[in-house]
């Protein structure tokens, strides 16, 4: 049984640590190497969002099981400024920083399930899942 892994994100160096831990957990759960890369890349995007917009937060990695299928659940949580317009934040090419604006929509495309809860002034929680094929 794998317990939750919590990675605190306080600097951009933690982005690398978070995605490496995500890849390792993905490998343990039986994801293909290509899916491990997809998981690591999605983690990189949501972790960078924390660093850019909220400055600090955490990434939680969990093992989930549904209908006999293993999966990984990734929660990215911060108490930053929140996202005023989530629909817009999920549009390709939309960014309030100088990024490409592909981070959130890209992460959503890469994962099987993707959910954002955000409150302006309170913070943002992104929950995403991917199932072993």
């Amino acid at each position: 049984m794998v317990s939750d892994i919590i990675i605190s994100i306080v600097s951009e160096a933690d982005i690398v640590a978070a995605r490496q831990k995500g890849r390792a957990l993905g490998a343990q759960l039986g994801f293909s190497s290509s899916d491990q890369t997809v998981i690591a890349t999605a983690i990189s995007e949501v972790a960078r969002n924390i660093v850019i917009y909220a400055r600090q937060g955490e990434i939680i990695l969990k093992t989930v099981l549904q209908n006999n299928r293993n999966g990984i659940e990734i929660i990215a949580r911060d108490r930053g400024p929140g996202i005023p317009d989530i629909a817009r934040a999920l549009q390709d090419g939309y960014s309030t920083s100088k990024s490409l604006g592909l981070g959130l929509p890209g992460a959503k495309r890469m994962m099987d399930e993707f959910d954002i809860v955000s409150k302006v002034g309170k913070g943002t929680t992104i929950t995403m899942k991917k199932w072993v094929k």
Binding site: A13, V16, S34, V38, T41, R48, L100, G103
Partner: protein
């Protein structure tokens, strides 16, 4: 407080070329430092071509992609062509899913292929001999 890791990416000079071999995962700051070092060295060595070998990169996210693109554009303004080599199949797959492209930056399978392209490009636009 997290540790500040300084990952110096080796830049090898070979004739009119610079060869950059990324050896491990890089943080955003490492990428920016690489960009600055390359812009400076390309001028100092009068470099005509730069190869960036990213075989060892296991993740290419939007930041890495954007920085590689800007490196290539900066170097072009400094008179050097950049070729990115060694994008792994899994990385290419994830880039496509994420929607990342390297734009007009030339890519090649590996170092040998990259060097061959550079020789061709530089021969092509130079008529006064090298």
């Amino acid at each position: 407080m997290s540790e500040v890791n300084v990952m110096e990416v080796p830049i090898l000079k070979q004739g009119q070329y610079l060869i950059v071999s990324i050896q491990s995962a890089l943080t955003d700051a490492d990428f920016l430092r690489l960009r600055d070092n390359l812009a400076e060295q390309a001028g100092r060595y009068r470099t005509r071509g730069v190869i960036i070998d990213i075989t060892a990169l296991d993740v290419m996210d939007s930041f890495a992609c954007r920085t590689l693109r800007s490196i290539a554009h900066i170097l072009r303004l400094r008179g050097a062509e950049t070729i990115i080599v060694g994008i792994q199949p899994d990385v290419a797959f994830a880039m496509v899913q994420l929607g990342l492209t390297l734009g007009d930056v030339t890519t090649a399978l590996d170092l040998d292929e990259g060097l061959a392209i550079l020789r061709q490009k530089i021969k092509g636009d130079r008529t006064n001999g090298v």
